[in-house]
Amino acid sequence: MIKTTPQIEVRNLTIGYDDYVLMKDISFTVNKGDIFIVMGGSGCGKSTLLHVLTGLKAPKSGKIFIDGLNFASASPEKKKDLMRHCGILYQSGALFSSMTLAENIALPLQQYTDYSDKVISELVSLKLSLVGLAGFEDFYPSEISGGMKKRAGLARALALDPEILYCDEPSAGLDPISSKLLDDLILDINKSLGTTFVIVTHELASIFAVGNNSVFLDSGSKSIKGYGNPKDLLKNPPNDIVLNFLTRGEKEHG
């Protein structure tokens, strides 16, 4: 039996905008080394959940424990300290357009470490090599393709060797080959660095390719309708909503 250690624990979390509730009282646990998928239909609150998990948005109620510490109610300093161990890959890459790729990746290193310029430069080259962009240090984001932007965004997210990496729709807008390459990269990084991934996506191919644990958010009931390995959820769907989603509505329960 594989020993699992909880890394992110979400307890009775309620999220939403103003008076509108997107998800009510949801709870789940992400274990160390998981590639955890947050899936669900459009508008169910996946990205909002990610914003709450990364501290960009406050939850309406509930608790989020990261390595046992309550992130949701932590002071800004404590949050900053916890986020030091987290990287984020945004849907658009979110690279700073006025900076080269090297400058983008160097920014968190300059912010959080006392490394010399030489060490930072070496680390930047290493991170770019890891994502297959060696030699692209002096390119600006506008000079590279969408898939490369995602890879560069991943390199920046990996800059500080994070223990947790949040990814918002990593394969959105990518062609199938680039999407597959990015999935492979996520698997490689997970295996080689032991990084925990929390991936928000509704791309079925990616869900089955990389995910080993998941939650399915349902906008109708504002709750979790499926929890577990996506492949197991497909084999033994807990309900028609999850089955419909995982089979693109092509199979019916039973």
Binding site: L56, K80, R84, Y90, A94, L95, F96, S97, Q110, Q111
Partner: protein, 370 residues
């Protein structure tokens, strides 16, 4: 194309014959719908046996008929429909035609007014918080702990310094010219046109130079700050900064605010000079005042305290423009339209705040005897 219908024994048969492409005969359609509505019917037969080419204008008529038939519980049948047309009609009815009821969020007027007041108060507090954070960033900058790149500061400085010279010069020259021209008309009545030189010199150095520079820079640079930072918000770059723990006011606001408060007084000086030059053009070429005499009166009217008050206005305007531009950029929504809204708000609010601040400073300087 032919659209015909006939009724017998409570059965209506509607026949479509020939090509139904771009069908626009509203009279025929109205007559059909009228008959259908006002005749007691039990069944409807839509016959497309003779149909050749067709497009969506035909589908609209058929769907309308089916919808009405369903409403009146009239049984209907489709005869001679091409497969593609039948599939399209089925598709049109397969989607949910009853959207969820739209929540009415309108409030009674008193509650609405209160809600508006509360939202304005929250916006005001948000603005104050942003200014506090900006001052904290300025404080960190002075002790060398702010997180911003020198290159960003240099780019911002370049944008609001020599690149703004041309527009500030031209507009200020024209303002000086207009000021002199309007003044001369009044002063001529008393035969003292020579005082045009004093009017322009005092007017430009005391306030007009700073105000004109402020308005130009608000439209040029303030708008650009809001658009640039707003686009960064749309592209999630600001989220990335926040999650990296980098204060947005350090990284994005400091380079812009510091470059604008440095360059605004300098541009104000340029504006003063160009305004006086514009006034001189009117004095010398229209009022036949000699250059020496114009200069003598200008020099006599120039007072150091007026000049310094003007520069101080320029400095404060620089702060106001940068704060408004950056605030609306950082608080921009997440779509292209929001960037336009943020830009407009930045320009409008910076001009309004400049005028309000000018009023306040005028009272203060008056009390100080300046």
């Amino acid at each position: 194309m032919e659209l015909s219908h006939h009724i017998s024994r409570q059965n209506m048969t509607v026949t479509f014959c020939g090509d139904f492409v771009n069908y626009t005969d509203d009279k025929a359609k109205e007559s059909l719908y009228d008959s259908f509505e006002h005749t007691p019917l039990q069944s409807l037969d839509i016959d497309c046996t003779g149909l050749q080419k067709w497009d969506s204008t035909l589908v609209v008529i058929i769907c309308e008929l089916i919808k009405e038939a369903k409403k009146k519980s009239v049984t209907f049948q489709m005869t001679g429909f091409p497969d593609s047309l039948k599939r399209l009609v089925d598709l049109a009815f397969s989607v949910n035609r009853n959207p969820p009821p739209h929540e009415d969020i309108s409030l009674p007027w008193l509650e609405g007014l209160g809600s508006w007041g509360v939202s304005r108060w929250h916006a005001f507090c948000k603005g104050i918080e942003f200014i506090k954070q900006t001052f904290a960033s300025l404080g960190r900058m002075f002790i060398g702990k702010a997180v911003f790149r020198r290159v960003d500061f240099l780019f911002a400085l370049e944008d609001c310094s020599y690149k703004a010279i041309a527009i500030v010069s031209v507009v200020s020259f024209m303002v000086g010219l207009i000021l002199a021209f309007v003044g001369a008309i009044q002063l001529r009545i008393f035969g003292v046109e020579i005082y045009v030189a004093s009017l322009v010199a005092i007017g430009m150095t005391r306030i007009m130079g700073a105000i004109m520079t402020g308005i130009i820079m608000s439209g040029r640079t303030g708008a650009s700050y809001a658009a640039t930072i707003g686009t960064m918000q749309v592209n999630e770059e600001i989220d990335a900064l926040r999650t990296m723990g980098i204060p947005v006011t350090d990284f994005l606001v400091l380079p812009r605010i510091s470059s604008l408060i440095i360059t605004m007084p300098i541009l104000t000086m340029l504006s003063d000079f160009m305004g006086v030059l514009g006034g001189a053009a009117v004095g010398v070429f229209m009022l036949d005042i000699s250059v020496e005499e114009y200069w003598k009166y200008t020099y006599a009217a120039l007072k150091i305290h007026n000049f310094l008050v003007g520069l101080f206005h320029g400095f404060i305007y620089g702060f106001v423009i940068a704060i408004c531009g950056c605030y609306y950029g950082v608080n921009c929504g997440r779509n292209a339209d929001s960037v336009g809204v943020a830009t407009t708000k930045a320009v409008v609010s910076s001009i309004v705040w400049m005028i309000l601040v000018t009023g306040l400073m005028t009272v203060i300087f008056e009390e100080m005897g300046l």
